[in-house]
Amino acid sequence: MTERCWLALVDEPPHAAAAAAELAEPDGAPAGWLAAWMQRAKPVRSALRVDPRIVDPRGDRGWVSLVLVPPGFALPFDDLAVQQARRDVLARPPARAVSTLLRDSSHFQGAITVTDQRRDADPFARLAPRRVLRVGRGLFGRPAPPVGPTIERYGSANPWPWDRYG
């Protein structure tokens, strides 16, 4: 796979993004934009790799639970706590879309969970600070939930739950 899917929180609607949607705090206050790019190179400094199946420019509005490991901290993707969070995701009723976020092949940098209604429970929120935000139309689709029980990545460069090699 030569192209990668990148996701980043940005202040302004980005140029050349494959999809983007406006964010708002739960009380409606503007919270910037969330954008996705399909390209080999990282589009902006803060961009993280995401499972491309969750991105859909025709996607409906919803809620996101955005978990991000703070700058300066490093959490191995194979850490037992990260493994358990992935198990918990599979055990629970599925979200509309979910993906871990990667900066490199070794570390868990965060996760994004998309739901139609606000959902307070997020297994990844045990690992790092979380923001719950409203997301507008045009970014997140409704991919098939993970089949289970695989919690491993298909190649260390691919965000879980991407489910095939290549």
């Binding site: 198990r87 599979l90 055990a91 009723p93 599925p94 098939a144 939930p145 089949v147 289970g148 029980p149 695989t150 919690i151 491993e152 298909y154 489910d163 095939r164 090699y165």
Partner: protein
């Protein structure tokens, strides 16, 4: 092995679509994807033999989660029942639901001796990504079901066959 089942090693299962335990429409071919897959048909949550066999699969789940294989369980239980049963078991794989019994008839897997529940015959199929049956186990009698060791052996054989890098790359 697999006497009394309409599908044996080398046969291809037909693709079909059913709701999962959450009511999402799922196709078998998409669930199997590119991995070796254990497809289990079972009578229903109420059957003691199924409850015991599921404990075997639950134990194997902890190995399967790192082995790039998939599990799919299939019964005539409706989605809410399957979701509750799955949660109670602690299963982390997909349950398919055939309450209208269209797929059980299409596959020829209806257990005709149970006219009260009209369930699936208990069976286990280890599938290749093209839905070809690698091995089939008729679980009508409990001892016809695969042991964990047999499933590991089958999953190893399919994985060895479908992964081009089974033999670790050498310098």
């Amino acid at each position: 092995m697999a006497e009394g089942l309409p599908f044996a090693a080398g046969d291809a299962l037909p693709d079909f679509e059913l709701p999962d335990q959450n009511g999402n429409a799922r196709r078998l071919r998409e669930l199997v994807g590119t991995d070796a897959t254990v497809l289990q048909t079972f009578r229903g949550w109420w059957c003691p033999k199924e409850q015991r066999f599921f404990r075997r699969l639950i134990a194997l789940q902890d190995e399967a989660e790192v082995g790039y294989v998939r599990f799919v369980s299939l019964s005539v239980d409706p989605p809410p029942v399957s979701a509750a049963f799955r949660a109670g078991l602690g299963a982390r794989w997909t349950f398919l639901c055939d309450p209208d019994r269209g797929v059980v008839e299409r596959l020829g897997l209806r257990e005709t001796t149970d006219t009260l529940n009209d369930p699936f015959v208990p069976a286990v199929f280890v599938l290749r990504p093209d839905l070809q049956v690698h091995s089939a186990y008729n679980g009508y009698w409990f001892w016809g079901r695969p042991t964990a060791d047999e499933l590991v052996r089958d999953l190893r054989a399919v994985t060895r066959d479908i992964r081009a890098d089974w033999d670790a790359p050498t310098p």
